[in-house]
Protein backbone atom coordinates (compact mmCIF):
# COMPACT_ATOMS: atom_id res chain seq x y z
CA UNK A 1 0.00 0.00 0.00
CA UNK A 2 1.38 3.35 -1.03
CA UNK A 3 1.67 6.35 1.27
CA UNK A 4 -1.18 8.01 -0.59
CA UNK A 5 -3.68 5.73 -2.26
CA UNK A 6 -6.44 7.13 -4.46
CA UNK A 7 -9.09 4.56 -5.35
CA UNK A 8 -11.97 4.86 -7.78
CA UNK A 9 -12.36 8.59 -7.31
CA UNK A 10 -15.37 10.08 -9.07
CA UNK A 11 -16.81 13.57 -8.99
CA UNK A 12 -20.19 14.59 -10.36
CA UNK A 13 -21.33 18.19 -10.42
CA UNK A 14 -25.10 18.51 -10.34
CA UNK A 15 -26.43 20.31 -13.40
CA UNK A 16 -28.28 23.56 -12.81
CA UNK A 17 -32.02 23.30 -13.49
CA UNK A 18 -32.79 20.96 -16.36
CA UNK A 19 -29.18 20.62 -17.44
CA UNK A 20 -27.69 17.16 -17.03
CA UNK A 21 -25.12 16.36 -14.35
CA UNK A 22 -21.49 16.60 -15.32
CA UNK A 23 -19.15 13.72 -14.53
CA UNK A 24 -15.87 15.57 -14.18
CA UNK A 25 -13.73 12.50 -13.71
CA UNK A 26 -14.50 8.87 -13.15
CA UNK A 27 -12.56 5.97 -11.63
CA UNK A 28 -9.33 7.81 -10.93
CA UNK A 29 -6.69 5.58 -9.36
CA UNK A 30 -3.11 6.38 -8.44
CA UNK A 31 -0.67 6.27 -5.58
CA UNK A 32 2.15 8.35 -4.14
CA UNK A 33 5.14 7.07 -2.23
CA UNK A 34 6.57 8.87 0.75
CA UNK A 35 9.08 11.48 -0.42
CA UNK A 36 7.87 11.33 -3.99
CA UNK A 37 7.17 14.38 -6.14
CA UNK A 38 4.25 13.83 -8.49
CA UNK A 39 2.85 16.31 -10.98
CA UNK A 40 -0.50 16.09 -12.69
CA UNK A 41 -0.98 17.61 -16.14
CA UNK A 42 -4.12 17.97 -18.17
CA UNK A 43 -6.19 20.50 -20.03
CA UNK A 44 -8.48 22.90 -18.21
CA UNK A 45 -11.70 21.30 -17.09
CA UNK A 46 -10.29 17.83 -16.54
CA UNK A 47 -10.77 18.15 -12.79
CA UNK A 48 -7.16 18.45 -11.62
CA UNK A 49 -8.06 21.10 -9.07
CA UNK A 50 -11.00 19.02 -7.87
CA UNK A 51 -8.71 16.04 -7.28
CA UNK A 52 -6.39 18.29 -5.31
CA UNK A 53 -9.33 19.68 -3.32
CA UNK A 54 -10.39 16.15 -2.46
CA UNK A 55 -6.86 15.35 -1.30
CA UNK A 56 -6.86 18.57 0.73
CA UNK A 57 -10.16 17.52 2.27
CA UNK A 58 -11.89 20.66 1.04
CA UNK A 59 -14.23 18.76 -1.24
CA UNK A 60 -15.97 15.41 -0.99
CA UNK A 61 -15.75 13.00 -3.91
CA UNK A 62 -19.03 11.63 -5.27
CA UNK A 63 -17.58 8.17 -4.83
CA UNK A 64 -14.24 6.57 -4.22
CA UNK A 65 -11.75 7.43 -1.53
CA UNK A 66 -8.29 8.71 -0.83
CA UNK A 67 -6.18 7.14 1.88
CA UNK A 68 -3.12 8.83 3.26
CA UNK A 69 -0.83 7.09 5.69
CA UNK A 70 -3.44 4.34 6.21
CA UNK A 71 -6.16 6.82 7.09
CA UNK A 72 -9.01 7.91 4.88
CA UNK A 73 -9.03 11.60 4.01
CA UNK A 74 -12.35 12.81 5.41
CA UNK A 75 -11.72 16.52 5.83
CA UNK A 76 -9.03 19.18 5.94
CA UNK A 77 -6.06 18.37 8.10
CA UNK A 78 -2.80 19.93 9.21
CA UNK A 79 -1.14 16.79 7.84
CA UNK A 80 -1.58 18.24 4.37
CA UNK A 81 -0.24 21.66 3.49
CA UNK A 82 -1.82 23.48 0.56
CA UNK A 83 -0.30 26.16 -1.65
CA UNK A 84 -3.17 27.84 -3.45
CA UNK A 85 -3.25 29.06 -7.00
CA UNK A 86 -3.79 32.68 -5.99
CA UNK A 87 -1.35 32.61 -3.05
CA UNK A 88 -4.30 33.23 -0.63
CA UNK A 89 -2.27 35.33 1.77
CA UNK A 90 -4.19 37.45 4.23
CA UNK A 91 -3.55 41.00 3.06
CA UNK A 92 -3.96 42.56 6.49
CA UNK A 93 -1.12 40.47 7.96
CA UNK A 94 2.61 40.88 7.41
CA UNK A 95 4.71 38.09 5.91
CA UNK A 96 5.76 36.97 9.39
CA UNK A 97 2.20 36.99 10.69
CA UNK A 98 0.87 35.12 7.69
CA UNK A 99 3.32 32.30 8.35
CA UNK A 100 2.77 32.56 12.10
CA UNK A 101 -0.98 32.14 11.58
CA UNK A 102 -0.30 28.68 10.18
CA UNK A 103 2.36 27.81 12.76
CA UNK A 104 0.07 28.79 15.64
CA UNK A 105 -2.65 26.58 14.20
CA UNK A 106 -0.23 23.65 14.09
CA UNK A 107 1.32 24.15 17.50
CA UNK A 108 -1.08 26.25 19.60
CA UNK A 109 0.94 25.51 22.74
CA UNK A 110 4.07 27.25 21.46
CA UNK A 111 5.20 30.57 22.94
CA UNK A 112 5.67 33.71 20.87
CA UNK A 113 9.45 33.34 20.65
CA UNK A 114 9.32 29.78 19.46
CA UNK A 115 6.70 30.62 16.85
CA UNK A 116 8.79 33.53 15.65
CA UNK A 117 12.02 31.61 15.29
CA UNK A 118 10.24 28.70 13.58
CA UNK A 119 8.62 31.10 11.10
CA UNK A 120 11.94 32.82 10.53
CA UNK A 121 13.54 29.53 9.51
CA UNK A 122 10.99 29.00 6.77
CA UNK A 123 10.95 32.64 5.66
CA UNK A 124 14.73 32.43 5.29
CA UNK A 125 14.36 29.14 3.46
CA UNK A 126 12.31 30.73 0.67
CA UNK A 127 14.71 33.67 0.50
CA UNK A 128 12.47 36.30 2.04
CA UNK A 129 14.70 37.34 4.94
CA UNK A 130 14.30 41.07 5.39
CA UNK A 131 10.72 41.13 4.12
CA UNK A 132 9.15 39.77 7.33
CA UNK A 133 7.33 42.96 8.21
CA UNK A 134 5.99 43.74 4.78
CA UNK A 135 2.37 43.26 3.82
CA UNK A 136 1.49 41.12 0.79
CA UNK A 137 0.51 44.21 -1.22
CA UNK A 138 4.11 45.39 -0.93
CA UNK A 139 5.48 42.16 -2.42
CA UNK A 140 5.92 41.08 -6.03
CA UNK A 141 3.94 38.11 -7.33
CA UNK A 142 6.92 35.81 -6.93
CA UNK A 143 7.51 36.89 -3.35
CA UNK A 144 3.85 36.38 -2.48
CA UNK A 145 3.95 32.83 -3.80
CA UNK A 146 7.15 32.25 -1.79
CA UNK A 147 5.28 33.27 1.36
CA UNK A 148 2.56 30.78 0.42
CA UNK A 149 5.21 28.08 0.08
CA UNK A 150 6.85 29.05 3.38
CA UNK A 151 3.45 28.93 5.08
CA UNK A 152 2.72 25.46 3.72
CA UNK A 153 6.18 24.08 4.60
CA UNK A 154 6.19 25.70 8.05
CA UNK A 155 3.50 23.38 9.38
CA UNK A 156 5.69 20.44 8.30
CA UNK A 157 2.86 18.49 6.73
CA UNK A 158 3.10 14.86 5.70
CA UNK A 159 2.14 15.84 2.19
CA UNK A 160 2.23 19.11 0.29
CA UNK A 161 -0.43 19.97 -2.28
CA UNK A 162 0.45 22.64 -4.82
CA UNK A 163 -2.27 24.00 -7.10
CA UNK A 164 -0.47 25.53 -10.06
CA UNK A 165 1.56 27.69 -7.73
CA UNK A 166 3.64 29.40 -10.40
CA UNK A 167 0.96 29.84 -13.05
CA UNK A 168 0.69 33.59 -12.59
CA UNK A 169 4.43 34.30 -12.51
CA UNK A 170 6.69 35.48 -15.31
CA UNK A 171 9.10 32.93 -16.76
CA UNK A 172 12.22 34.25 -15.01
CA UNK A 173 10.67 34.37 -11.57
CA UNK A 174 9.09 31.00 -12.12
CA UNK A 175 12.46 29.48 -12.94
CA UNK A 176 14.07 30.84 -9.78
CA UNK A 177 11.30 29.62 -7.53
CA UNK A 178 11.27 26.20 -9.21
CA UNK A 179 14.97 25.85 -8.44
CA UNK A 180 14.32 26.81 -4.85
CA UNK A 181 11.46 24.38 -4.58
CA UNK A 182 13.67 21.56 -5.86
CA UNK A 183 16.27 22.37 -3.20
CA UNK A 184 13.75 22.63 -0.40
CA UNK A 185 11.95 19.43 -1.35
CA UNK A 186 15.22 17.51 -1.56
CA UNK A 187 16.37 18.86 1.77
CA UNK A 188 13.11 18.11 3.54
CA UNK A 189 12.18 14.86 1.73
CA UNK A 190 8.70 16.32 1.39
CA UNK A 191 6.01 14.33 -0.41
CA UNK A 192 4.48 16.63 -3.01
CA UNK A 193 1.47 16.48 -5.28
CA UNK A 194 1.39 19.36 -7.74
CA UNK A 195 -0.85 20.59 -10.53
CA UNK A 196 0.83 22.28 -13.44
CA UNK A 197 0.21 23.37 -17.00
CA UNK A 198 3.87 23.64 -17.77
CA UNK A 199 5.48 20.55 -19.29
CA UNK A 200 9.03 21.69 -18.49
CA UNK A 201 8.08 22.43 -14.92
CA UNK A 202 6.75 18.88 -14.57
CA UNK A 203 9.90 17.36 -16.05
CA UNK A 204 12.13 19.42 -13.79
CA UNK A 205 10.23 18.75 -10.58
CA UNK A 206 8.37 15.47 -10.81
CA UNK A 207 9.48 11.90 -10.28
CA UNK A 208 6.29 10.80 -11.97
CA UNK A 209 3.79 12.72 -14.08
CA UNK A 210 0.10 11.84 -14.18
CA UNK A 211 -1.45 12.63 -17.54
CA UNK A 212 -5.16 13.37 -17.46
CA UNK A 213 -7.39 13.05 -20.47
CA UNK A 214 -9.81 15.83 -21.30
CA UNK A 215 -12.95 16.25 -19.26
CA UNK A 216 -15.76 15.61 -18.81
CA UNK A 217 -15.28 11.97 -17.79
CA UNK A 218 -11.57 12.55 -17.50
CA UNK A 219 -9.29 9.69 -16.47
CA UNK A 220 -5.64 9.30 -15.55
CA UNK A 221 -4.59 8.19 -19.00
CA UNK A 222 -0.95 7.42 -18.31
CA UNK A 223 1.60 7.61 -15.58
CA UNK A 224 4.91 8.79 -16.97
CA UNK A 225 8.08 8.01 -15.07
CA UNK A 226 10.72 10.69 -15.24
CA UNK A 227 13.69 8.75 -16.58
CA UNK A 228 16.18 11.46 -15.68
CA UNK A 229 17.72 11.07 -12.25
CA UNK A 230 16.97 13.52 -9.45
CA UNK A 231 19.35 16.41 -9.15
CA UNK A 232 18.41 17.70 -12.60
CA UNK A 233 18.49 21.46 -12.98
CA UNK A 234 16.87 23.87 -15.38
CA UNK A 235 20.25 24.72 -16.84
CA UNK A 236 21.47 21.23 -17.57
CA UNK A 237 18.46 19.02 -18.06
CA UNK A 238 17.98 19.90 -21.73
CA UNK A 239 21.41 18.41 -22.48
CA UNK A 240 20.12 15.01 -21.47
CA UNK A 241 18.71 13.21 -24.55
CA UNK A 242 16.03 11.78 -22.31
CA UNK A 243 14.66 15.28 -21.78
CA UNK A 244 13.35 15.57 -25.34
CA UNK A 245 11.93 12.08 -25.28
CA UNK A 246 9.93 12.83 -22.18
CA UNK A 247 8.97 16.25 -23.39
CA UNK A 248 7.78 15.00 -26.77
CA UNK A 249 5.80 12.29 -25.09
CA UNK A 250 4.04 14.77 -22.82
CA UNK A 251 3.38 17.29 -25.58
CA UNK A 252 2.12 14.56 -27.92
CA UNK A 253 -0.26 13.48 -25.24
CA UNK A 254 -1.58 16.97 -24.55
CA UNK A 255 -1.96 17.87 -28.21
CA UNK A 256 -3.10 14.59 -29.61
CA UNK A 257 -4.10 11.73 -27.35
CA UNK A 258 -5.72 13.61 -24.49
CA UNK A 259 -8.93 14.12 -26.50
CA UNK A 260 -9.25 10.56 -27.67
CA UNK A 261 -10.29 9.11 -24.34
CA UNK A 262 -13.58 10.98 -24.42
CA UNK A 263 -14.73 9.42 -27.67
CA UNK A 264 -13.86 5.99 -26.32
CA UNK A 265 -11.33 5.47 -29.06
CA UNK A 266 -8.57 4.66 -26.62
CA UNK A 267 -10.76 3.36 -23.85
CA UNK A 268 -11.02 -0.27 -24.88
CA UNK A 269 -7.46 -1.20 -24.09
CA UNK A 270 -7.49 1.02 -21.05
CA UNK A 271 -7.87 -0.24 -17.52
CA UNK A 272 -8.62 2.66 -15.17
CA UNK A 273 -7.57 0.60 -12.15
CA UNK A 274 -4.09 0.32 -13.59
CA UNK A 275 -3.31 3.24 -15.84
CA UNK A 276 -0.39 2.32 -18.09
CA UNK A 277 2.98 3.33 -16.75
CA UNK A 278 5.37 4.53 -19.38
CA UNK A 279 9.04 5.41 -19.36
CA UNK A 280 9.60 7.48 -22.48
CA UNK A 281 12.81 6.74 -24.28
CA UNK A 282 13.45 3.47 -22.52
CA UNK A 283 12.36 0.06 -23.58
CA UNK A 284 9.39 -0.85 -21.41
CA UNK A 285 11.22 -3.96 -20.19
CA UNK A 286 14.22 -1.89 -19.27
CA UNK A 287 12.23 0.58 -17.19
CA UNK A 288 14.14 0.73 -13.92
CA UNK A 289 11.68 0.13 -11.13
CA UNK A 290 13.47 2.23 -8.55
CA UNK A 291 10.88 1.25 -6.03
CA UNK A 292 8.84 -1.69 -7.24
CA UNK A 293 5.99 -1.06 -4.86
CA UNK A 294 5.88 2.52 -6.03
CA UNK A 295 4.37 1.54 -9.29
CA UNK A 296 2.10 -1.43 -9.11
CA UNK A 297 1.40 -1.09 -12.80
CA UNK A 298 5.06 -1.56 -13.66
CA UNK A 299 4.80 -5.23 -12.83
CA UNK A 300 2.11 -5.71 -15.38
CA UNK A 301 2.78 -5.96 -19.06
CA UNK A 302 2.51 -2.48 -20.53
CA UNK A 303 -0.97 -1.88 -21.77
CA UNK A 304 -0.02 -0.31 -25.04
CA UNK A 305 3.59 -0.98 -25.91
CA UNK A 306 3.06 0.34 -29.40
CA UNK A 307 2.53 3.74 -27.98
CA UNK A 308 5.84 3.65 -26.18
CA UNK A 309 7.65 2.45 -29.28
CA UNK A 310 6.24 5.39 -31.18
CA UNK A 311 8.17 7.66 -28.94
CA UNK A 312 11.54 6.65 -30.23
CA UNK A 313 12.68 9.49 -32.37
Amino acid sequence: MSFLEVQGLKKVFAGAGSRPDTVVFDDVNFGLERGEFVCIIGHSGCGKTTILSVLAGLEQPTSGLAIMDNREIAGPSLDRGVVFQGHALMPWLTVMKNVAFAVRSRWPEWGADKVRSHCQTFIDMVGLAGAEDRKPAELSGGMKQRVGIARAFAIQPKMLLLDEPFGALDALTRGTIQDELVKIVQATHQTVFMITHDVDEAILLADRILLMSNGPRAVIAEIVRNTMPRGRTRHTMHHDPQYYRIRNHLVDFLVERSKRYQSGELRDAYDPKHPPAVSPGLEPEAAPPANPSAQPAAARPPARPAQVVNLHP
Binding site: A56, L58, V82, A88, M90, A102, A137
Partner: protein
Amino acid sequence: MALRDTLKAAALSVVFLALLLAVWHVATLPKEKAAASEDEYAKLLGKGAKKSEGFPTPAQLGATILEHLREPFYDRGANDKGIGIQLGWSLARVGAGFLLALLVAIPLGFLIGMSPLLHRALNPFIQVLKPISPLAWMPIALYTIKDSSVSGVFVIFICSIWPMLINTAYGVGAVRRDWLAVAKTLEVTSVRKALQVILPAAAPTILTGMRISIGIAWLVIVAAEMLVGGTGIGYFVWNEWNNLNLTNVIFAILVIGVVGMLLDFAFARLQKLVTYVE
Protein backbone atom coordinates in the same frame (compact mmCIF):
# COMPACT_ATOMS: atom_id res chain seq x y z
CA MET B 1 2.75 70.69 -6.22
CA ALA B 2 0.36 68.93 -3.87
CA LEU B 3 1.14 71.44 -1.14
CA ARG B 4 0.60 74.35 -3.49
CA ASP B 5 -2.77 72.93 -4.56
CA THR B 6 -3.76 72.54 -0.92
CA LEU B 7 -2.83 76.16 -0.24
CA LYS B 8 -4.76 77.32 -3.30
CA ALA B 9 -7.83 75.43 -2.20
CA ALA B 10 -7.54 76.81 1.31
CA ALA B 11 -7.20 80.36 0.02
CA LEU B 12 -10.24 79.88 -2.18
CA SER B 13 -12.21 78.56 0.80
CA VAL B 14 -11.32 81.69 2.76
CA VAL B 15 -12.44 83.85 -0.15
CA PHE B 16 -15.79 82.05 -0.33
CA LEU B 17 -16.25 82.46 3.43
CA ALA B 18 -15.46 86.17 3.21
CA LEU B 19 -17.93 86.57 0.34
CA LEU B 20 -20.62 84.74 2.27
CA LEU B 21 -20.05 86.89 5.36
CA ALA B 22 -20.03 90.08 3.27
CA VAL B 23 -23.33 89.25 1.55
CA TRP B 24 -24.79 88.26 4.90
CA HIS B 25 -23.53 91.48 6.48
CA VAL B 26 -24.97 93.72 3.73
CA ALA B 27 -28.28 91.87 3.73
CA THR B 28 -28.74 92.34 7.49
CA LEU B 29 -27.70 96.05 7.73
CA PRO B 30 -30.28 97.93 9.85
CA LYS B 31 -32.63 99.95 7.60
CA GLU B 32 -32.43 103.26 9.53
CA LYS B 33 -34.38 105.65 7.29
CA ALA B 34 -37.31 103.38 6.72
CA ALA B 35 -37.41 102.42 10.34
CA ALA B 36 -37.57 106.01 11.65
CA SER B 37 -41.14 106.74 10.55
CA GLU B 38 -42.28 103.39 11.84
CA ASP B 39 -40.80 103.99 15.25
CA GLU B 40 -43.66 106.17 16.36
CA TYR B 41 -46.10 103.60 15.17
CA ALA B 42 -44.27 100.92 17.04
CA LYS B 43 -44.35 102.96 20.20
CA LEU B 44 -48.06 103.47 19.78
CA LEU B 45 -48.53 99.75 19.56
CA GLY B 46 -46.68 99.40 22.84
CA LYS B 47 -43.74 97.55 21.45
CA GLY B 48 -40.55 98.12 23.34
CA ALA B 49 -37.67 100.11 22.01
CA LYS B 50 -35.55 96.97 22.15
CA LYS B 51 -37.38 95.46 19.28
CA SER B 52 -35.96 92.28 17.83
CA GLU B 53 -33.88 93.26 14.88
CA GLY B 54 -34.79 90.19 12.86
CA PHE B 55 -32.04 88.18 11.26
CA PRO B 56 -28.74 88.57 13.16
CA THR B 57 -25.67 90.10 11.55
CA PRO B 58 -22.39 88.16 11.31
CA ALA B 59 -20.97 90.37 14.05
CA GLN B 60 -23.82 89.48 16.41
CA LEU B 61 -23.27 85.82 15.68
CA GLY B 62 -19.55 86.22 16.36
CA ALA B 63 -20.29 87.81 19.72
CA THR B 64 -22.71 84.99 20.57
CA ILE B 65 -20.17 82.34 19.64
CA LEU B 66 -17.56 83.94 21.88
CA GLU B 67 -20.07 84.24 24.71
CA HIS B 68 -21.02 80.55 24.44
CA LEU B 69 -17.45 79.35 24.16
CA ARG B 70 -16.39 81.41 27.16
CA GLU B 71 -18.78 79.53 29.39
CA PRO B 72 -19.88 76.28 27.70
CA PHE B 73 -20.91 74.37 30.81
CA TYR B 74 -23.05 76.78 32.85
CA ASP B 75 -26.33 75.51 34.22
CA ARG B 76 -29.01 78.01 35.20
CA GLY B 77 -32.05 75.82 35.34
CA ALA B 78 -33.95 73.62 32.93
CA ASN B 79 -34.17 76.08 30.07
CA ASP B 80 -30.79 77.72 30.34
CA LYS B 81 -27.82 75.41 30.08
CA GLY B 82 -24.46 75.87 28.39
CA ILE B 83 -23.93 74.53 24.90
CA GLY B 84 -21.35 72.06 26.22
CA ILE B 85 -23.94 70.42 28.50
CA GLN B 86 -26.51 70.22 25.71
CA LEU B 87 -23.96 68.71 23.33
CA GLY B 88 -22.90 66.27 26.02
CA TRP B 89 -26.47 65.02 26.37
CA SER B 90 -26.86 64.57 22.64
CA LEU B 91 -23.53 62.79 22.28
CA ALA B 92 -24.32 60.53 25.22
CA ARG B 93 -27.67 59.52 23.63
CA VAL B 94 -26.07 58.96 20.25
CA GLY B 95 -23.22 57.03 21.86
CA ALA B 96 -25.52 54.78 23.88
CA GLY B 97 -27.93 54.08 21.00
CA PHE B 98 -25.07 53.52 18.58
CA LEU B 99 -23.24 51.14 20.92
CA LEU B 100 -26.39 49.11 21.57
CA ALA B 101 -26.99 48.90 17.82
CA LEU B 102 -23.39 47.81 17.32
CA LEU B 103 -23.75 45.04 19.90
CA VAL B 104 -26.79 43.68 18.08
CA ALA B 105 -25.83 44.41 14.46
CA ILE B 106 -22.34 42.91 14.36
CA PRO B 107 -23.10 39.45 15.78
CA LEU B 108 -26.39 39.26 13.89
CA GLY B 109 -24.66 40.47 10.72
CA PHE B 110 -22.08 37.72 11.18
CA LEU B 111 -24.82 35.09 11.42
CA ILE B 112 -26.67 36.43 8.40
CA GLY B 113 -23.47 36.73 6.41
CA MET B 114 -22.41 33.16 7.16
CA SER B 115 -25.78 31.49 6.71
CA PRO B 116 -27.56 31.97 3.39
CA LEU B 117 -30.63 30.39 5.00
CA LEU B 118 -30.79 32.99 7.78
CA HIS B 119 -30.12 35.68 5.23
CA ARG B 120 -33.16 34.68 3.22
CA ALA B 121 -35.30 34.22 6.30
CA LEU B 122 -34.48 37.62 7.82
CA ASN B 123 -34.22 39.63 4.63
CA PRO B 124 -37.97 40.48 4.39
CA PHE B 125 -37.92 41.86 7.94
CA ILE B 126 -34.87 43.97 7.23
CA GLN B 127 -36.30 45.27 3.98
CA VAL B 128 -39.56 46.34 5.66
CA LEU B 129 -38.00 47.81 8.81
CA LYS B 130 -35.10 49.61 7.13
CA PRO B 131 -37.06 52.35 5.29
CA ILE B 132 -39.14 53.35 8.35
CA SER B 133 -38.27 56.81 9.60
CA PRO B 134 -36.81 56.27 13.06
CA LEU B 135 -39.05 59.03 14.45
CA ALA B 136 -42.09 56.96 13.54
CA TRP B 137 -41.05 54.63 16.36
CA MET B 138 -41.20 57.46 18.89
CA PRO B 139 -44.81 57.00 20.07
CA ILE B 140 -44.27 53.28 20.57
CA ALA B 141 -41.00 53.95 22.35
CA LEU B 142 -42.60 56.57 24.62
CA TYR B 143 -45.53 54.29 25.40
CA THR B 144 -43.48 51.19 26.18
CA ILE B 145 -40.36 52.75 27.72
CA LYS B 146 -42.18 55.62 29.47
CA ASP B 147 -38.99 57.70 29.62
CA SER B 148 -38.37 60.39 27.04
CA SER B 149 -34.58 60.33 27.34
CA VAL B 150 -34.36 56.56 26.93
CA SER B 151 -36.83 56.79 24.05
CA GLY B 152 -34.36 59.07 22.35
CA VAL B 153 -31.68 56.41 22.80
CA PHE B 154 -34.04 53.83 21.36
CA VAL B 155 -34.67 55.95 18.28
CA ILE B 156 -30.91 56.25 17.73
CA PHE B 157 -30.58 52.50 18.22
CA ILE B 158 -33.23 51.70 15.64
CA CYS B 159 -31.80 54.06 13.04
CA SER B 160 -28.15 53.00 13.51
CA ILE B 161 -28.76 49.30 13.34
CA TRP B 162 -29.63 48.87 9.65
CA PRO B 163 -26.54 50.17 7.87
CA MET B 164 -24.31 48.26 10.30
CA LEU B 165 -26.33 45.06 10.00
CA ILE B 166 -26.49 45.12 6.22
CA ASN B 167 -22.84 46.02 5.78
CA THR B 168 -21.63 43.42 8.27
CA ALA B 169 -23.69 40.72 6.60
CA TYR B 170 -22.41 41.76 3.19
CA GLY B 171 -18.79 41.98 4.33
CA VAL B 172 -18.91 38.61 6.08
CA GLY B 173 -20.62 36.97 3.11
CA ALA B 174 -18.05 38.37 0.69
CA VAL B 175 -14.92 37.12 2.49
CA ARG B 176 -12.71 35.52 -0.13
CA ARG B 177 -13.15 31.77 -0.26
CA ASP B 178 -9.38 31.37 -0.51
CA TRP B 179 -8.89 32.72 3.00
CA LEU B 180 -11.60 30.46 4.36
CA ALA B 181 -9.98 27.52 2.59
CA VAL B 182 -6.66 28.41 4.22
CA ALA B 183 -8.36 28.47 7.61
CA LYS B 184 -9.99 25.12 6.88
CA THR B 185 -6.80 23.36 5.81
CA LEU B 186 -5.13 24.69 8.96
CA GLU B 187 -7.97 23.24 11.08
CA VAL B 188 -8.60 26.66 12.62
CA THR B 189 -11.33 26.67 15.28
CA SER B 190 -14.50 28.54 14.39
CA VAL B 191 -13.97 31.21 17.04
CA ARG B 192 -10.46 31.87 15.79
CA LYS B 193 -11.70 31.84 12.21
CA ALA B 194 -14.37 34.42 13.05
CA LEU B 195 -11.99 36.71 14.94
CA GLN B 196 -8.79 36.36 12.94
CA VAL B 197 -9.99 35.73 9.40
CA ILE B 198 -13.56 36.88 8.86
CA LEU B 199 -13.51 39.92 11.14
CA PRO B 200 -10.36 41.52 9.69
CA ALA B 201 -11.44 40.60 6.17
CA ALA B 202 -14.86 42.21 6.64
CA ALA B 203 -13.66 45.09 8.84
CA PRO B 204 -13.50 47.73 6.10
CA THR B 205 -17.09 46.98 5.06
CA ILE B 206 -18.25 46.88 8.68
CA LEU B 207 -16.58 50.25 9.34
CA THR B 208 -18.36 51.69 6.30
CA GLY B 209 -21.63 50.62 7.87
CA MET B 210 -20.63 52.17 11.19
CA ARG B 211 -19.72 55.42 9.49
CA ILE B 212 -23.08 55.61 7.70
CA SER B 213 -24.85 54.76 10.97
CA ILE B 214 -23.17 57.44 13.05
CA GLY B 215 -24.00 59.99 10.34
CA ILE B 216 -27.67 59.02 10.38
CA ALA B 217 -27.72 58.92 14.18
CA TRP B 218 -26.42 62.48 14.35
CA LEU B 219 -29.08 63.62 11.88
CA VAL B 220 -31.83 61.91 13.82
CA ILE B 221 -30.83 62.98 17.34
CA VAL B 222 -31.61 66.66 16.59
CA ALA B 223 -35.12 65.83 15.44
CA ALA B 224 -35.64 63.35 18.28
CA GLU B 225 -34.63 65.90 20.92
CA MET B 226 -36.89 68.51 19.39
CA LEU B 227 -39.72 66.05 19.96
CA VAL B 228 -38.92 64.77 23.44
CA GLY B 229 -37.44 68.01 24.82
CA GLY B 230 -35.64 68.47 28.08
CA THR B 231 -31.99 68.42 27.11
CA GLY B 232 -29.74 68.10 24.12
CA ILE B 233 -28.72 70.14 21.14
CA GLY B 234 -32.01 69.48 19.34
CA TYR B 235 -33.95 70.77 22.32
CA PHE B 236 -31.63 73.79 22.46
CA VAL B 237 -32.49 74.67 18.84
CA TRP B 238 -36.20 74.36 19.51
CA ASN B 239 -35.98 76.30 22.77
CA GLU B 240 -34.09 79.19 21.14
CA TRP B 241 -36.66 79.25 18.33
CA ASN B 242 -39.37 79.64 20.94
CA ASN B 243 -37.29 82.47 22.45
CA LEU B 244 -37.07 83.97 18.94
CA ASN B 245 -33.31 84.04 19.41
CA LEU B 246 -32.19 83.32 15.87
CA THR B 247 -28.57 84.06 16.74
CA ASN B 248 -28.51 81.11 19.09
CA VAL B 249 -30.29 78.94 16.53
CA ILE B 250 -27.67 79.72 13.90
CA PHE B 251 -24.94 79.09 16.44
CA ALA B 252 -26.47 75.71 17.29
CA ILE B 253 -26.70 74.82 13.61
CA LEU B 254 -23.01 75.56 13.23
CA VAL B 255 -22.18 73.41 16.25
CA ILE B 256 -24.26 70.52 14.91
CA GLY B 257 -22.42 70.72 11.61
CA VAL B 258 -18.97 70.83 13.18
CA VAL B 259 -19.67 67.94 15.57
CA GLY B 260 -21.15 65.84 12.75
CA MET B 261 -18.06 66.51 10.69
CA LEU B 262 -15.78 65.49 13.56
CA LEU B 263 -17.73 62.26 14.11
CA ASP B 264 -17.44 61.39 10.43
CA PHE B 265 -13.77 62.28 10.50
CA ALA B 266 -13.16 59.99 13.47
CA PHE B 267 -14.82 57.05 11.73
CA ALA B 268 -12.95 57.78 8.54
CA ARG B 269 -9.73 57.46 10.52
CA LEU B 270 -10.87 54.16 12.03
CA GLN B 271 -11.82 52.96 8.57
CA LYS B 272 -8.36 53.77 7.29
CA LEU B 273 -6.84 51.75 10.13
CA VAL B 274 -8.59 48.51 9.16
CA THR B 275 -8.45 48.92 5.39
CA TYR B 276 -6.03 46.64 3.60
CA VAL B 277 -4.74 46.62 0.06
CA GLU B 278 -5.16 43.35 -1.80
